[in-house]
């Protein structure tokens, strides 16, 4: 039987290969990752965090990074855990660590990720996203679900001039093309 992983195509395989590098901002498709949506009461979530060794952020809309793994707090009872694809077994660890009512769902293949980085990254995002992305209002480590154009994304400022965007895979080409459109302004 054919290996499904071998036949899998990255949703940005074609678009991602043809992005012209620019001084203002560069766009990059990120490799597949393991993603877990965790819904739980904060006390239950804290116990899960202790068991899996990944501290969950206590403040709303903040991300904690530990090595290659990250935990993003998207809602009062919602976290998105992101790790390398090879860390897929960590899902089982999260599920086994649950001491109370909680929902742990593997959403790895629901989304894909891309990264926009560079001195004009904020301006490019600002062409399609109404959020205030000034460093004072949206500091490094802040993350949130929001809209980019008409697509829902999870936006995470991982460094001063670098944003990670998580987007549903069928919306990925749309988001990619929006950002390419925004980048055009800074090629001149």
């Amino acid at each position: 039987m054919a290996d499904p992983a071998a036949a899998r195509v990255h949703p940005l395989a074609v678009l991602g290969a043809g992005s012209m590098p620019g001084a203002g901002a560069t766009l990059r498709a990120l490799p597949p990752a393991c993603r877990i949506s965790l819904r739980a009461d904060p006390q239950v979530a804290a116990a899960i965090a202790a068991a899996i060794g990944l501290p969950l952020p206590e403040a709303m809309c903040r991300a904690n990074v530990l090595g290659a793994r990250a935990a993003l707090r998207l809602g009062p009872d919602e976290w998105l855990l992101i790790g390398p694809e090879a860390a897929g077994e960590s899902l089982a660890r999260v599920a086994m660590a649950v001491p109370g009512p909680a929902s742990v769902v593997d959403v790895s293949h629901r989304s894909t990720a891309l990264e926009i980085a560079g001195p004009r990254a904020v301006a490019v995002l600002g062409a399609f996203c109404a959020l205030d992305l000034d460093a004072a209002a949206f500091p490094v480590g802040m993350c949130t679900r929001t809209l980019l154009g008409k697509a829902e994304i999870v936006l995470w400022r991982s460094a001063a001039e670098c944003f990670r965007i998580e987007v549903w895979r069928s919306f990925a080409p749309y988001v990619w093309n929006c950002l390419e459109e925004g980048r055009l302004e800074f090629f001149i």
């Binding site: 709303m60 809309c61 809602g75 009062p76 109404a130 205030d132 949130t144 679900r145 929001t146 809209l147």
Partner: protein, 99 residues
């Protein structure tokens, strides 16, 4: 674009939100047909300060309550779902503050 302060996430652009109608409408435990129809269909629709539910659908996903002036669209205050309805005096103070 309006900036709506989500009680969980802070001020966010209005396109992240959906309106969900008048707030603080409790389902009656027992009701005759008239009271049931009133619960289902009748809303106050005032010209002025109005308490309504909003949902931060493209954000934290939570419902919350919002005090908005229906003429000026000014958002006077927002508070978490489940918190008690603010009294008239509190509303008056808030709207003075927001002016």
């Amino acid at each position: 674009m309006l900036l709506i302060p989500c009680p969980h996430c802070g001020a966010r652009p209005e396109n992240e939100f959906r309106n969900a109608g008048e707030a603080h409408i409790a389902r009656p435990a027992e009701a005759d047909d008239a009271a049931w129809a009133d619960y289902l269909y009748m809303r106050t629709n005032p010209k002025g300060v109005f308490i309504e539910r909003w949902r931060h659908i493209h954000g934290c996903g939570r419902f919350f309550n919002c005090v908005r002036h229906t003429v000026t669209d000014r958002i006077i205050a927002t508070y978490k779902a489940g918190d008690p309805r603010p009294s008239l005096d509190v509303l008056r103070a808030w709207s003075e503050h927001a002016r």
